[in-house]
């Protein structure tokens, strides 16, 4: 890592002098478009076109090299063939250019020479302490348009980042058409140096930026993301659209970015932990961005609906329920006030139906009554309008705008259903801090975004959370992992997994490895009965499926037969060339002897972006079919997180005790999750871990992690 800081990005946001390397007089050339875009966007600084073959370009003196310029250069925009870029970056470094934007393609994305060039550029950036955007990007728009996009949007307060250049051009075109302004518009490209997280860190402290929105396909460094983004999200809303949600989308994204994408659930959890608002679609991204720009963050979590039409009121109620938004229950006082002002046919409870013939004054009355309630009763409202002959949408909009001005603490979201007659009212409302959409579902969604952000502001920053550390035997686990690696095994053997768990204070039954049937009989006799016998082979994942497990062994003779049977089955049904190390004997827990026994699955899979991801749910042989599982990232994971995670599963109800059954050892389960979190955070070599089943008994009898699999990174 270099000693670079995001402060140095100032040279990209407020450059005073810009060298355009590859500038051209020829119409259609990128170097020509960029200068024209700079001119059209009224870039206030100095222009330094670089082209060895020209004396003057578009009215500016041209230079053969940046080294020929006398002045200091803040930013170099490079649009020359990739094979010349390394030399040019070296020149920029020597010239002490503060930042560079490499628009040129033909680097890592094409492999071979391109990949080598990109790493050379990366090294030069570090050597000369120069921040570099791109390569393979459209450029950026900050205090000037340093891109080759065909349009320049107006100035505004949304900062937009895009990993796709083509997406950026489309969005710009749309934004210009919809009169949306930006504080910055940045195409990220290959992210050789500066990535989305660096920009978020910079933009969080940028006064011109009120909202940060980004389209991303991959995240380079999950831990850096947590550290920076969670702090930035406290300062201003960050909305991310992450492409590749579906398996097919992830596949498409992987060939586009060359980045290994973790599961979508990993991104979902990480965004929640970091406090990012996730947009599902491009239109959601902008709806959120525009909403956050103008709307009031709710001061409570209960919302009302005011509508002049019953149907849309019900649709909105359904949408609020789906999004788990708090539905306001009015006090008797509020209901009486509404009764006094509204016609008797109205609905005085939530949703407040002021009926079809409602004139603007009726909207005003109903909204004002709700505004006068405490925030705990009604924090905000969705105001629905369907244009009917008495409605007068413009006047309604003006009344709402006035009320918004009067009651600044309340959150107003509009849902003006219609076409031509609601265009002007929507503009009035948007200008007054009331985000308004044509359909209630969009209004509900943005309101959900606002409440999500409100909750986020109330929570501590994830990186500042202290997590309890258990007293464990780390050295022993380290040794076990090292030995397995020496033995060329990615999978730990059963007796090793038992020792790993024991070292971290997680209870697992005793087991022994045997390598002949006679040994099985002798060891069984020493261990006592009943026992379970299982195949030990790193290549056999599903032991049951190949007849690799024998239960309820009650005599030495049965142990002997179990060994032979398991080894024969493994040979016959197991994978070709599977390494059969032997059979493990393990104490068998008889469920019938327990007052209560519940099978859980507890696991961990290391996400390539976000690190260890914990999982818990209903276990046993049907675990894959029941799919009652919940996930959370082990990053700063504590007991409260463990409880929340468990509560997301259906099996948690069973653990709490139903139909007169006693309460299970829930504390034990939470303890496993916490200790497991510490284990997988301590050892990044552990890439997968699976306990299935983990038998949980009634409170006094504890639990037993019966079948454990641990996979390590080779």
């Amino acid at each position: 890592m270099s000693s670079k800081t995001v402060k140095e990005l100032d040279a990209m946001f407020n450059p005073k002098s810009v060298a355009i390397i590859g500038a051209s007089n020829r119409e259609g050339k990128i170097g020509n478009t960029i200068i024209k875009n700079m001119q059209n966007s009224n870039f206030p600084g100095k222009y330094y076109p670089i082209n060895p073959k020209s004396e003057e370009i578009l009215g500016y003196k041209a230079y053969k090299s940046v080294l020929d310029i006398q002045d200091e250069i803040d930013l170099a925009v490079i649009c020359i063939p990739s094979k010349f870029c390394v030399a040019v970056i070296e020149e920029c470094g020597k010239k002490k250019v503060k930042a560079a934007v490499i628009i040129t393609a033909g680097f890592k994305e094409v492999g071979g020479e391109g990949r080598i060039r990109e790493s050379e550029i990366q090294e030069l950036g570090i050597k000369y302490n120069m921040r570099i955007l791109g390569p393979n990007c459209l450029g950026l728009i900050t205090n000037g348009n340093f891109s080759f996009a065909s349009l320049t949007p107006k100035k505004g307060n949304i900062a937009m980042l895009s990993q796709s250049g083509a997406m950026m051009t489309g969005l710009l075109d749309w934004a210009v058409n919809n009169d949306i302004g930006f504080s910055a518009f940045i195409s990220l490209g290959n992210k050789v140096d500066v990535d989305e997280v660096d920009f978020i860190e910079y933009l969080a402290n940028d006064d011109n930026t009120k909202v940060i929105a980004a389209y991303i396909e991959s995240v380079e460094d999950g831990m850096k993301f947590f550290k920076i983004v969670s702090a930035a999200a406290k300062k201003k809303p960050i909305i991310l659209l992450k492409a590749g949600r579906s398996a097919a989308g992830a596949k498409a994204a992987s060939s586009h970015t060359g980045a290994l994408a973790g599961s979508d659930i990993g991104f979902e959890l990480a965004f929640k932990k970091a406090g990012v608002i996730r947009a599902d679609t491009i239109s959601d991204l902008f709806n959120y961005a525009l909403t956050f720009l103008i709307a009031t963050i709710p001061k409570g979590d209960k919302f009302a609906i005011v509508t002049n039409a019953g149907g849309p009121g019900i649709v909105t109620t359904d949408a609020m329920d789906k999004e788990k938004l708090g539905f306001a229950q009015f006090s008797e006082e509020t209901i009486n006030l509404l009764k006094k002002k509204l016609p008797t046919e109205s609905n005085f409870r939530n949703p407040v139906d002021i009926i079809g013939d409602a004139p603007p004054s009726r909207y005003e009355d109903a909204i004002e009554i709700l505004c006068q309630t405490p925030n705990s009763e009604v924090a905000g409202m969705i105001i629905i309008l369907t244009p009917q002959s008495q409605t007068k949408p413009i006047l309604v909009a003006k009344k709402i705008a006035a009320l918004k001005k009067k009651y600044t603490e309340k959150t107003f979201i509009g849902a003006f259903i219609g076409g031509v007659s609601v265009i002007e009212p929507m503009k009035i409302l948007t200008k007054s801090g009331v985000p308004t959409y044509a359909f209630p579902e969009d209004s509900v969604k943005v309101l959900k975004g606002l409440t999500y952000y409100k909750e986020l502001l109330e929570k501590p920053i994830i990186t500042e959370k202290t997590v309890k550390k258990f007293n464990v035997n780390k050295d022993k686990v380290k040794k076990i992992i090292e030995d397995a690696k020496k033995d060329n095994r990615a999978v730990l053997l059963s007796y090793e997994t038992s020792q790993v768990f024991e070292s971290y204070g997680i209870k697992a039954p005793e087991n022994r490895l045997v390598q002949t049937a006679r040994d099985a009989a002798e060891n069984a006799k020493e261990m006592g009965f009943p026992l379970v016998a299982k195949i030990v082979s790193p290549q056999i994942i599903h032991k049951w499926d190949i007849g690799g497990v024998v239960l309820n062994i009650k005599t030495p003779a049965e142990a002997k037969n179990a060994f032979i049977s398991i080894m024969t089955n493994a040979e016959r049904l197991g994978p070709r060339d599977a390494r059969l190390i032997g059979v493990e004997l393990q104490e068998m827990i008889i469920k019938e002897n327990k007052l209560k026994s519940t099978e859980l699955i507890i696991g961990m899979s290391r996400d390539p972006n976000w690190g260890p991801m914990l999982m818990i749910g209903s276990g046993g042989i049907y675990a894959n079919y029941v799919k009652d599982v919940a996930f959370d990232l082990a990053y700063h994971f504590d007991r409260e997180d463990a409880q929340k995670l468990l509560n997301q599963t259906k099996i948690s109800k069973i653990l709490e005790g139903v139909r007169g059954e006693p309460v299970s050892d829930i504390d034990g389960v939470l303890d496993i999750l916490e200790r497991l979190s510490q284990l997988v955070n301590d050892f990044s070599d552990i890439v997968e871990l699976d306990i299935n089943p983990c038998l949980v008994f009634e409170k006094k009898e504890g639990y037993s992690a019966v079948d454990i699999k641990i996979t390590i990174k080779m």
Binding site: G112, G114, R115, T516
Partner: protein, 355 residues
């Protein structure tokens, strides 16, 4: 030094590790001050194209171990095991035998002791009277039976081969058990040695499975699937070993679990499966084969270059490639010669071999 009786390595079935033992033994004799020779009466001509005509084991031995001898001296005769009757009929055997004997005698004149590597199994070429029994007798050799042992069943084969050779008046000095798994290795001391001793069969050694010697190399795999290397430096990667194969036909998330468990694996998948390729590149992967000659996305090649993982495109479909890979027969590589000696020293009782 007086001439010692030749040692004839006879196997119960193909893949018994005779070449490993022969190379180890050759080097050991050399170390002990002998002038050893190596002889293989009939080599494999699996592929009649000129560059691969000679037996691959013979190639390695002449190139690295016994460089003083020519390939012809070491191995005077080649047959294709599946079509040998197209090359020799029983009435031609005497002439072939005479030619083999000439070569053997020539070798004998130049050496103190000759290690003779027998046919693939004790019965091979019996139809033309050129089997191991014939050679052992003609060359007046002491025979060591080499046998791969997977489980107890293979022990029957060892005993049967011993009895068969004895019946034919061949002097058998013992057996070397080879390719022993973890459990089989435990069984040697516990069961096999006492049992064989009771039957009058001396156990000269038991070689544990050797990853390095039994796993195929990247070069062998590329040859087996007739693939083209599209990423990676052949010289650098050709000797890398492959410990296992994974067919990447499942979803990326399921694949992740399988691929993470693999070590030095070869992943076979479609060229359009960038998702699988990326998961494989993040795991312990030594080779990725893209089936159907479909090239992967440039981005994937770029990541593979960065990670140093070779990529190959092969013409066959994924299923056919997996079938082709099943048929791979591994051979000793020049860089594995010292390992053969180390294995020999570690697992063979040198005192039990008559000099």
């Amino acid at each position: 030094m007086n001439k010692s009786k030749p040692i004839f390595l006879c196997s119960t079935k193909a893949g018994s590790g005779k070449t490993i033992i022969a190379i180890g033994m050759f080097l050991k004799f050399k170390e002990e001050g002998f002038k050893p020779g190596y002889f293989k009466a009939i080599g494999d001509a699996m592929d009649l194209r000129p560059k691969t005509k000679t037996d691959k084991d013979v190639n390695v031995i002449t190139a690295v171990v016994a460089r003083q001898f020519s390939k012809e001296e070491i191995c005077p005769q080649f047959f294709n095991p599946g079509f040998f009757l197209d090359e020799i009929l029983p009435e031609e055997t005497p002439a072939v035998m005479a030619h083999i004997k000439d070569s053997f005698e020539s070798m004998q004149n130049k050496t103190d002791i000759i290690i003779i590597e027998g046919n693939h199994n004790v019965n091979q070429y019996s139809a033309i009277n050129l089997d191991d029994i014939r050679f052992a007798k003609e060359f007046n050799a002491n025979v060591i039976i080499c046998s791969p042992i997977k489980d107890d069943n293979d022990l029957n084969t060892v005993v049967s081969a011993f009895n068969y050779l004895k019946l034919n008046d061949v002097n058998v000095i013992g057996v070397i058990l080879n390719g022993l798994s973890e459990t089989a290795y435990v069984r040697i001391e516990k069961y096999y040695k006492p049992l064989l001793k009771d039957l009058g069969i001396e156990v000269i050694g038991g070689l544990k499975k050797s990853r390095q010697l039994e796993k195929p190399t990247v070069a062998e795999i590329i040859e087996a699937v007739e693939g083209d290397l599209i990423c990676g430096n052949y010289i650098k990667v050709k000797n890398n070993l492959i410990d296992g194969f994974v067919i990447g036909a499942m979803g990326a998330e399921s694949a992740s679990s399988y691929l993470r468990r693999g070590v030095n694996q070869c992943v076979i998948t479609g060229g359009d499966r960038s998702d699988i390729a990326l998961v494989a590149l993040d795991a312990s992967t030594n080779l990725i084969i893209f089936s159907g000659n479909i090239h992967p996305a440039r981005r994937i090649i770029s990541v593979a270059e960065e990670k140093g993982v070779p990529l190959v495109v092969a013409p066959a479909d994924t299923f056919t490639i997996s079938e082709q890979l099943k048929k791979i027969h591994t051979h000793i590589q020049p860089n594995e010669i010292q390992l053969c000696k180390d294995e020999f020293d570690k697992y063979i009782d040198w005192d039990k071999i008559p000099k």
